[in-house]
C-alpha cells in the first residue's frame, strides 16, 4: 500500500519546505518536488503543514492507583494522542515492592499489547532495588529493549527509593548502557509537610501545593545531579516545574555534566493561582504542583537556552468522580478515620485536566 502526500509544507527538526512525500507501507521512501510516482492514495496537502509524528515520552495509561486506574486505557490513550498528531507514547511500568521487573513488565504488556492504535514503548520504574532487581537491569536492556529506568525520590513507603538504592541503581544502569530518569522532589520533607497540614485540618487543594514547595524540587534535582555525576550515569529529570530546580541543573553543568530535563505543557502555561479555589482546584492537582509565573519564565528560558530538551505531558488522567475520592479521604481525616497508606495528597497526584474531560 502506498500514499502520496502532495505539495504540503513540510516542517522537520531542521527544515521547512514545500514538497511531496511518498510512503510505501509504513516507511517514507521519497520526498521531493513533483515526485514522478503513482500511489494507491493521493492526498492533496496544498496550504497545509505536514509534521513528523510527535513523541510523548511521559504518559501513564491504565495505571493502577488506589483501587482504580488512570482513566485512559492504552487504546483510548493512544487514540487520543493520534488526534493531536502524537504517534508514539512512552508509558511507565511500575514495579511493586517485592515484584520482579519481568513480572511488572508482563502486567503492563497484558493491558497494552494488542490494544493500542499508535506506537508505544515503556520506561520501567524501579521501586525496589535489591540484588535481584540489579540482575534484571541487563535483561531489560538486552532482551526487552528497555533502557530507561525511572526512580522516585518522593512517595515514601510506596514508590520512593533512598539514595543508597539510587547510587546502586545508577552504577548498574551505567554499566548496562541505560539512563536513570527521576521524579525529583524530597519525599521526606513533603511527607512531613503533608502530615503537618493534615494534622491541622488543612485539606483543601491549596495545601497540596503548599506541601510541595519549590525547595523540595530544587534540592532533589541538585542531589540527583550530584549522584549522576558521581556515578557517571546519564540522568533525565522528568516534569520539572520551577526556577530553583533548573538552577540546580544549570549549576551542575559547570562540572562538564549533562542532565537532561523534561518539562510539561501545564507548567509552561498554568500557575498556582488555580489552587486558590475550593475543591474545584482539585482539577489541577498534580505532583509536582503548578508553580508561579516566574517559574514559567524560567522554563521558557531553559527551553530557549537548550537546558530543557523535552516537553512532555505526564498524561495521567482521572475522571472527576475519581478526583472526588480525594474529598472523601479528606473527610475521613477530619473524622479521625485512617485512610490507606498513600493518602490524598499523593493519590490524585497527577492529572492534566484537559484529559479528564474526555
Amino acid at each position: 500500500m502506498s500514499i502520496l502526500i502532495k505539495n504540503g509544507r513540510i516542517i522537520t527538526a531542521a527544515d521547512d519546505y514545500v514538497a511531496d512525500i511518498f510512503i510505501e507501507g509504513e516507511t517514507i521512501s521519497a520526498i521531493g518536488k513533483n515526485l514522478p510516482v503513482q500511489a494507491d492514495t493521493v492526498i492533496d496537502a496544498t496550504g497545509k503543514l505536514v509534521f513528523p509524528g510527535g513523541i510523548d515520552p511521559h504518559v501513564h495509561l491504565a495505571m493502577p492507583f488506589m483501587g482504580t486506574f488512570s482513566s485512559d486505557t492504552h487504546e483510548t490513550g493512544t487514540r487520543a494522542a493520534l488526534f493531536g498528531g502524537t504517534t508514539t507514547v512512552i508509558d511507565f511500568v511500575l514495579q511493586k515492592q517485592g515484584q520482579s521487573l519481568k513480572d511488572a513488565l508482563a502486567d503492563w504488556n497484558s493491558r497494552a499489547r494488542g490494544t493500542t492504535v499508535g506506537d508505544y514503548s515503556f520506561h520501567i520504574a524501579v521501586t525496589d532495588f535489591n540484588e535481584d532487581t540489579k540482575a534484571e537491569i541487563k535483561v531489560m536492556v538486552e532482551e526487552e529493549g528497555i533502557t530507561s529506568f525511572k526512580t522516585f525520590m518522593a512517595y515514601k513507603g510506596a514508590l520512593m527509593i533512598d539514595d543508597r538504592q539510587m547510587i546502586g541503581l545508577m552504577q548498574e544502569v551505567k554499566k548496562q548502557g541505560g539512563m536513570v530518569t527521576v521524579h525529583a522532589t524530597n519525599g521526606d520533607v513533603i511527607d512531613y509537610l503533608t502530615a503537618k497540614h493534615r494534622s491541622e485540618g488543612k485539606l483543601t487543594p491549596l495545601y497540596h501545593y503548599l506541601s510541595q514547595p519549590e525547595v523540595t524540587e530544587a534540592e532533589a534535582s541538585g542531589r540527583f545531579s550530584d549522584m549522576a555525576d558521581y556515578t557517571g550515569c546519564p540522568g533525565y529529570i522528568v516534569h520539572m516545574t520551577c526556577e530553583g530546580a533548573l538552577n540546580a541543573v544549570r549549576h551542575a553543568t559547570r562540572r562538564n555534566q549533562k542532565v537532561f530535563v523534561e518539562t510539561c505543557i501545564q507548567y509552561l502555561v498554568l500557575d498556582a493561582s488555580l489552587y486558590e479555589q475550593n475543591f474545584e482546584g482539585a482539577k489541577w492537582v498534580m505532583s509536582p504542583p503548578l508553580r508561579e509565573k516566574k517559574d514559567q519564565q524560567s522554563l521558557w528560558a531553559g527551553i530557549n537556552q537548550g537546558l530543557v530538551q523535552v516537553v512532555a505531558t505526564d498524561h495521567c488522567p482521572f475522571m472527576w468522580e475519581q478526583k472526588l475520592m480525594g474529598r472523601m479521604i479528606s473527610r475521613k481525616f477530619r473524622t479521625g478515620i485512617q485512610p490507606s497508606k498513600i493518602g490524598w495528597n499523593c493519590s490524585t497526584a497527577r492529572g492534566f485536566t484537559k484529559a479528564t474531560s474526555r
Copy 2:
C-alpha cells in the same frame, strides 16, 4: 583571693596592648597600665602574651562507642584542654534510640559532674525525633540551658535522622529559640559505598576516605542549608572539610541566609595523602575524612572571608589499641563473620591522633 598579672601583652578579639590585669575570685575586675592595686598573687608577664581562655565547641569526652569509650574522660579531657589554654569545652550528649533527652543528659552528667577541671557545657544530639522528643526541646532550652541540638545526616541505623525528622526538629527548635547543628554528609551514599568496598574486600584506611567522597558532604551541606532556610531555623554545620561543602553554603548566602560553619584544625593542616599507607593510616581515620590540598585552601579562604566562623577540634580520641579493634573487624569481614551493626568504617571514625598519644 586576687591575682595581678603585670605587664603582659594582652590579645583580645579586637585589641593588642600591654597592661596589667587584676582578677578577683573568678572575674577580671580591672585592666590598665600600672594598676594601683594589691593582690594575693602577682605574676610578672613582661614579654609574654596573655590570651582570654579558649573555647572548644566540639569535643567528645568518655563517649560510649562499640563497647568502649573515647579515651579522654571529662577530667583528663578538660585538663588536657587547659594545657593548651582552652578553658571551656562543649561536649555532645548523644540520645539513644528510644531514650528521652532528659535521660541522655543524665547519663552525661553522671560522668561529667564533679570531675572536670575546666568549664564545660553540652550540645545535645537528637537521634530519635518523635512527639516525646519534640516536647522535650522546650525543657532543654528553658530548664537545662541547652540551646544547641545536634543532628546526624549520616550513620544510618544508628545516629542518622531523615529529612522528615530534620524539618520537624528545625520547626520546633526555631520556635524555642535554639539552633540546629549538623554532621552533614549523605549517610545513604556513604552506606552504599562502605558496603560496596567491604564486599570487594577493600578494608584499608584508604577506603574509609574513598567511602566518603567530597560530594557526600557538599550535597548534605546544601540540603541542610535548604531546610534551614525553609524553616527559618538557625543552622550550624560542624567539622566542614571541603570546597564543595563551603560552596554550597556560599551559594545559600545569596538568599539572605546565614548558616554558621565550623571547621577543625586537622582539616586545615593535614590531607588525605596520609591514608596512602597501610594500617598506619588508621591513626588519621575520622569522619568526615581528611581531604585534598585544594580543600585546605578553600577552608582558609572561608575563614579569611568570614564564611567559616569557628575552628574547633572534634576531639574524640581513641588509643592505638582501640584503633586496632578496627583491624579485627576487618579480618572478620574477610572471613565472612558478621560484626556488630556499626562496622569498622564508622567505628573508629573520629579521633585526632595527637590526642591518642597522651
Copy 3:
C-alpha cells in the same frame, strides 16, 4: 589632665559590660570596676552607654567641585561628626589631571591642617596614573602614611581611569603594601545613558537614577574584583548599593579572594522611590543612586554574613542653593547651551541630605 568615666555600660567590638574608664591625656589607661584612682574630671555614666569613638572612612570635606565646594569644611565636618560620636574621619585627596600626588596632598592639607576638631586621615584618589604618579606611590606609603589609593571607574574625562591604568596602579600598590579602593560603576555606559537622556530632554532627578542602572555597578564590581585577583592587590569597593554588585563580590570569593566592601547608611534605609518627585528629588541625588527595597535586604544580609565589612556615610554635602545649580544646567541643556565638561548628572552627584540641611 585626667578623666574618670564612672559606671557606664561599655560596648566594644567584642564585649558589653559595666565598668569605669580612666583616661590620662588622650589615652585610656585603665578599665575596671570601681577603679581606685583620682581624676581631674569625673563623669557619672550610670545608666548610659559608652562607645569607642566612631570612624567614618568615607567623607568629602571642602571638596572643590564645579567652582564651588562641598559645604562642610574640615572644621565644620569634624565638629558635626563629633556630635554623632564619630571621632575620626577619612577624607579623599583628589589628584587633578597633570598634578602630582604630592601637590594634591598639599592642597588638601592647606585646607585641613589646624582646622579640624576631631581626628582625620586621607585616602588619595589617583586620577592620572602615569610613570610619575607610579613613582609617588612608594612616597605616599612610606613618607606620608597614606596606604589607600582611590580609583574611579566612572566620571569619564574627569576622574575615571581606564583598566590599563587600573592594572598598572594595582601592581604598584601591591608592591608597596597598600590597598586600592574604587568607585565601581561602568563610566562608559553611564555616560552613554546620561547623554541619551539629555538628548531626549529627560532631565529630572529620576533620570539621574535611570542613567546608573544596577548592571553598571554589578559589572564594574566584578571587573574590579577580577583585576584585583589577577594582580593580587587588596581591593576595597566603596559605597556599594545593590544586590548585583554584592553577588559579583560573592562570586569572586570562590577563588580564595577577599575584596572588602563598604556600604553607606543611606543605601540601607532609603530607596529610589524618592526620585519619583519633581526637582525635590534632587535632595537625594547621589552617585551611585539609591536603589530598590530588594537591594536594601541584600546589603543587610551582606553585613550579617560578613561580606560587607564597613558602613560609612560618603558625607559630601551640598546646600540647596548648590543643588539648584543642577537645575540651571538642566535649563541650559534645554536651550542648547553647553555647560562645562562635567555635567549635571555628576555635579550634584553625592550628598546625603541630612547634611545639606545644616
Copy 4:
C-alpha cells in the same frame, strides 16, 4: 543540468539514512529510495557519506593588515573551503576609522565579487560608531542584507570600541532587528600587559599567551553579556577559548538571557604548551591564544550542553614569511626603534597554521 547521487549514506542535522539525491540546477529537488528519475550526471555514492555543505561563519580573506594581507584571497579561500566540504564562508568587512560602512563594504566587495568559487556572505565590523555609522545600520540590514555587526573589545587604538559605543550600537542594532557579535577580551588589560612585557624585553611567542590571560576573556564575555541583557540586543561571542568565559555566559543564562557562543577547532584540540618553544611557537600565535587542557574540556562540555552553538575556524592565514615580520618588529623593540602603532602581539594575531602551510 541535473545530477543524481545514488545510494549514499545521507547525514543531516536530524537524520542518517541511505537514499538517492536528485539535484536540478543548484537545488535538491528530491530525496528517496531508488528515485525513478533520469539525470545528466549520475554519481554512485554507495558506501560513502553525503553531507550538506558546511558553513564557516568566521573567516578573514584578503584581510588588509600592517601593509600586507591575510594570505588567502576570496578565490583561494573559498576553493580551500570546498576541499573540506565547506560550501559557504562568512567573511568580516572591517570599517576603518572615519570610513562609512558603505565604503568599507565596497572595499570588500571589490576583492570578493566575481572571484569566489563557493558561497559567501559578510559580517561587518563596526570600529567607529558615531551618528553617521548609526544611520547606516538600517541601510546595511535592509538594503545590503547584512544583519551581523562585529565589535572588538580589544585592539585599543585600532579596532576597539568602548562600552559607550557598544551600548549605543546595541540599542540601534536591536531596533533594526540585527545581532551584535564580539571579540570579547579586555583590551585595556591586554595593552597593559603587552607593553609591560615589551618593556621587559619579553618578546617570545609565550608572552603573546601571557599577555592575554583567561581573566581578560572571562571578564569581557561577562561584560558583553551584561550589556546585551540591558539593551535586549541578541549577542554572539566569537572564538571563545576558555572555561572562565563560558562560565560567564552560563551565569548570564540565569536571567532568561541567551548569548550565542562560537568556539573554533583549534581551541578544542590544541593547547598553550605549543608556545613553549622559541619562535617556532609563532606558528600558533592567534588571538585569543590557545589555552589549557581544562579549557578544552569546558568547551566540549559547552557543546554537549548546548551552551556553545557554533564551531568555526577564524581562518585568517599568514605565510611563514609574514609571521617573520613579527620577529623583525621584536628586534626593533629590543633596539629601541618604534614600530607602527599596532605592534607584533596584535599583528600576527590570528592564523590557524594548517592554512599557513598552503
